[in-house]
């Protein structure tokens, strides 16, 4: 599975030898958005600390002479508000209240969420059930209303209110940490650490926390903005103690909206700058963790557009079909755009043919480009793939440059596909039957389509077709699912069947049955089959001809006997040689105990 995905990703071999330790920090430093937001936060913090030195009046001092004083009045930098208080001084006091609120709320939420999330996720069982139930309960609370209802208890203190809010926001952190820890707990490296004798504490702090810390930072930034907004919101509503706050400033300015709309600008600016800096920092941090920056993404998008345009101009060089073969591929190239705009070619000039009634094996190790080649024929490569070929045709009809509708009409009656992983290739939300009926509905009425599917299910060896028809994918076994997928592929009696490692995910006994089924169906329907595989046993069992691929090139093509007994290319020979011999059984005696003594 992972191999398969890996083979699909362009340029997966080029792993940059960067050191992870400072990667995120360096990525942040290179991102102007991150630097800007951090500087903004730092400046605002500094302003709060210096407030007594740079303001002329206390934030609560009110002077009748300065009611609605204009901006720039001597000693009243931003003027006075409707109650004659210094707007500048109130603004700085509000920033300080907001930052405190954010620190308290976020701190409480993160500490509670991380501690319980780590414990519940790692220990699991009863602790997990109880903790999850409690946090779900807290999550379902209408938190704003609860804070208001509990104001008589907190006596209006915004610090206490923020602690409560922190508790109410902790489920978000808890869920994040718990789910990640559960994912990590199943990772083999945690098992390996246990076997190596590491203590639970060490595993949690060193291996688990390493993975969860990044997402926690992002979540914390979002929680901080919620805390700031809730604190301001409560002050806006006028509940709670009379502390200077963006909220109370906005509230006062709102009542003054007709007269002095400018008074609304300062608290709004302060609030937006604060929350905006936090959000932008979170976004930049997320990009840094993912290893992309917005700028880079934009750059690659633009490069991609160029490349695709260039490819579009170059692509339709499909010449007249030269051979009589059913499926003909000549000099197929597949490339993916790199982030700098250049093309990374993963399949180079591959040629092959498949005739009706013959099974052609496409063999190679992981990363050889065999799956890419197969998908190119089906038109199922990712959008960004750039495909070109001297010829890619089915029954004389070129496959490149078809419109999506034309291509769709070919799939089914002409081309069909059997995937590798049976379970993930069935839609989990629909019954097996409805998924198989759907494509047939293009050509026949529902009742007839259902009849046909039931016949097919019986044909592929499913014991109780009506029951399987009405089953959901999770209710059937992997072997059955693969039979269902084969039924889906041959339902429309395709001319060419492309099977991508159709038995790799199955047990050997099931594999043998599926191979038998494929052979029978191929014979019955006179299909041409392209079988992508890495298993030489499967090749020997089924194939008439073989194409060997390596590093995106076809190195050798030949009859199956010739490939096994007289491989021409050196690489084919080395592959055949590394097949574990059936005759040799290990014969040397177990290593003696004498050597143990030496140890």
């Amino acid at each position: 599975m992972s191999q398969q995905l890996g083979a699909l990703g362009p340029d997966q071999t080029a792993v940059a030898p960067t050191r992870r330790k400072w990667r995120v920090t360096r990525a942040l430093l290179r991102n102007p958005m991150a630097v800007g937001s951090v500087v903004t936060l730092a400046v605002m913090t500094l302003l709060c600390l210096l407030a007594p030195l740079i303001t002329g009046h206390d934030s609560m001092y009110s002077s009748v002479d300065h009611v609605n004083a204009p901006i720039g009045t001597e000693g009243w930098l931003l003027g006075g508000d409707a109650q004659g208080r210094d707007m500048w001084s109130r603004l700085l006091a509000s920033i300080s209240v907001s930052l405190t609120a954010a620190l308290i709320g976020t701190g409480v939420a993160v500490i509670i969420g991380v501690v319980f999330g780590l414990v519940a996720g790692y220990v699991g069982r009863t602790i997990d059930s109880i903790a999850s139930w409690v946090f779900d309960l807290v999550l379902a609370l209408p938190s704003l209303l609860m804070l208001i209802v509990l104001l008589p208890v907190t006596r209006g203190s915004y610090q206490l209110t923020m602690m409560l809010l922190g508790i109410m926001l902790s489920p978000g952190v808890y869920r994040l940490v718990r789910n990640m820890v559960i994912g990590i707990r199943r990772e083999l490296y945690i098992d390996a650490a246990k076997v190596a004798g590491l203590s639970t504490w060490r595993i949690l702090t060193r291996h688990v926390f390493f993975v969860v810390r990044g997402p926690i930072v992002i979540q914390a930034a979002f929680i901080a903005t919620i805390c700031i907004n809730v604190q301001a919101g409560l002050a806006f509503l006028g509940v709670g103690a009379n502390t200077p706050s963006f909220g109370s400033m906005i509230s006062l300015a709102f009542t003054n909206l007709y007269g002095e709309p400018i008074q609304l600008v300062w608290p709004t600016l302060g609030l937006v700058a604060l929350t905006g800096a936090l959000i932008l920092f979170a976004n930049a941090y997320r990009d840094a963790l993912a290893g992309t920056t917005t700028a880079a993404r934009r750059r690659s998008r633009r490069a991609l557009a160029d490349v695709v345009k260039r490819a579009d101009e170059a692509a339709p060089t499909t010449e007249k079909p030269t051979e009589k073969a059913l499926l003909t591929v000549r000099d197929l190239r597949i490339a993916y755009p790199r982030s700098d705009g250049s093309l990374n070619e993963v399949v180079h000039e591959v040629s092959l043919t498949v005739d009706s009634g013959e099974i052609v094996g496409l063999v190679g190790e992981s990363g050889s480009g065999k799956t890419q080649t197969a998908f190119a024929m089906l038109g199922l490569l990712p959008h960004e793939a750039v495909v070109s070929a001297k010829e890619l045709s089915l029954g004389g009809r070129p496959l490149l440059g078809l419109t999506p509708t034309e291509l769709r009409e070919l799939r089914g009656p002409d081309l069909a596909y059997i995937p590798q992983e049976p379970m993930s290739n069935l839609d989990p939300s629909f019954t097996v039957g409805s998924q198989l009926v759907e494509p047939l509905r293009r050509t026949m009425p529902r009742a007839q389509a259902k009849q046909r599917v039931l016949e097919l299910l019986a044909r592929v060896g499913i014991p109780d077709p009506p029951r399987t028809f009405h089953s959901y994918p999770h209710q059937i076994s992997g072997g059955m699912a693969q039979r269902v997928l084969i039924a889906g592929a041959v339902a429309t009696q395709p001319k060419v069947l492309i099977a991508d490692e159709p038995t790799t995910a199955l047990d050997v006994t099931v594999q043998a049955e599926i191979l038998d089924l494929l052979r029978e169906l191929q014979h019955e329907l006179r299909m041409g089959v392209l079988l992508v595989t890495h298993n030489f046993g499967v090749v020997a069992d089924l194939c008439d001809r073989v194409v060997v691929m390596r590093d995106g090139r076809d190195v050798e093509t030949g009859e199956v006997r010739q490939i096994f007994h007289h491989p021409a290319h050196e690489y084919t020979r080395s592959l055949i040689d590394s097949i574990l011999d059936e005759e040799t059984v290990r014969t040397d005696a177990p290593a003696s105990r004498a050597k143990e003594g030496v140890r």
Binding site: P17, R19, A192, L198
Partner: protein, 281 residues
């Protein structure tokens, strides 16, 4: 009872979620033993319970019945974390080299961590790193890189080096070469055999691949639905099996030779016809 590892009547049932349903029994009385310096191949299909046997030996799954004895000491109910004594001499190499190495540490950290956890001084542990890398055929400068910078085969070498760090007497190898390409596969198997010859370590080698098992095992045990159905010397079990399931398993694995495979296919279909007829009537 002087076997290195002795498993007697091992039963295991994973705990169900909540108190709703009892989970089916995964192991229904498994008995086997391994001598020092020997490889026991444990073959079976998915769901046969072969991986669970390995996890029980490692203390990662809790047995619900039977005993596991290592070097004369009962380790059945000792969890992995508390095996600081003799039981640390059981180590592991997992199937998937991509998820079995922590992303948090460089190779140096991966190799020294088990040593430090056993109370060895950091400086001494660090000194062992280059010899460990040397033994698994990796260049010395690998120590300062992260696991994700290596290919699948190289990662599996790192995992083997980690297992060797504590100088174990038994390594549980859970499908260690299944995720690797053909050419890499045989090189890693050769490395495992060579290490066994040099250190006298024993392997419990779990796999579904009969070709691999033939290559590395002295003895083979075949598992089917939580039970051992056949056990014996590798040559006997893989060429003249007694059990019907083992026969089917052997005939189902396609051989990499068109003519031989055609014969095997015919033999398999004949066997199926023979065994199916009495079963249904």
């Amino acid at each position: 009872m002087n076997h290195l590892l002795h498993i007697d009547g091992l039963r295991l049932r994973y705990p169900g979620v909540g108190f709703r349903r009892r989970m089916p029994e995964v192991l229904k009385g498994v008995s086997l033993h391994i001598e020092a310096g020997e490889t026991l191949g444990l073959v079976g299909e998915s769901g046969s319970g072969k991986t669970t046997v390995g996890r029980a030996v490692l203390g990662l799954a809790r047995a619900t019945g039977g005993t596991i004895t290592f070097d004369g000491q009962d380790i059945t109910h000792l969890p992995a974390g508390r095996r600081r004594g003799d039981a640390r001499e059981i180590q592991v190499v997992f199937q998937d080299p991509y998820t079995s190495l922590t992303p948090a540490l460089q190779v140096r950290g991966i190799l020294t961590e088990p040593l430090i956890a056993q109370g060895i001084a950091r400086a001494d542990a660090e000194r062992r790193v280059s010899s460990l890398l040397d033994r698994v055929g990796l260049p010395k400068d690998s120590a300062d890189r992260f696991a994700r910078e290596f290919s699948g085969g190289q990662r599996q070498r790192i995992a083997i080096a980690r297992a060797l760090a504590l100088e174990p007497r038994l390594i549980v190898c859970d499908e260690p070469v299944s995720a690797l390409d053909l050419t890499t596969q045989s090189r890693v198997l050769d490395l495992l055999i060579e290490l066994q010859r040099n250190t006298g370590v024993a392997y419990l080698f779990i796999t579904h691949d009969l070709a691999v098992v033939r290559h590395i095992s002295h003895r083979v045990a075949v598992m089917y639905q939580g039970e051992i159905v056949e056990t014996g010397p590798a040559a006997t079990v893989t060429t003249h099996p007694q059990n019907d399931y083992t026969k089917r398993l052997l005939l189902a694995a396609p051989t990499a030779d068109p003519e031989a495979q055609a014969e095997r296919r015919a033999a398999r279909q004949a066997l199926l016809r023979r065994t199916r007829t009495p079963a249904t009537t």
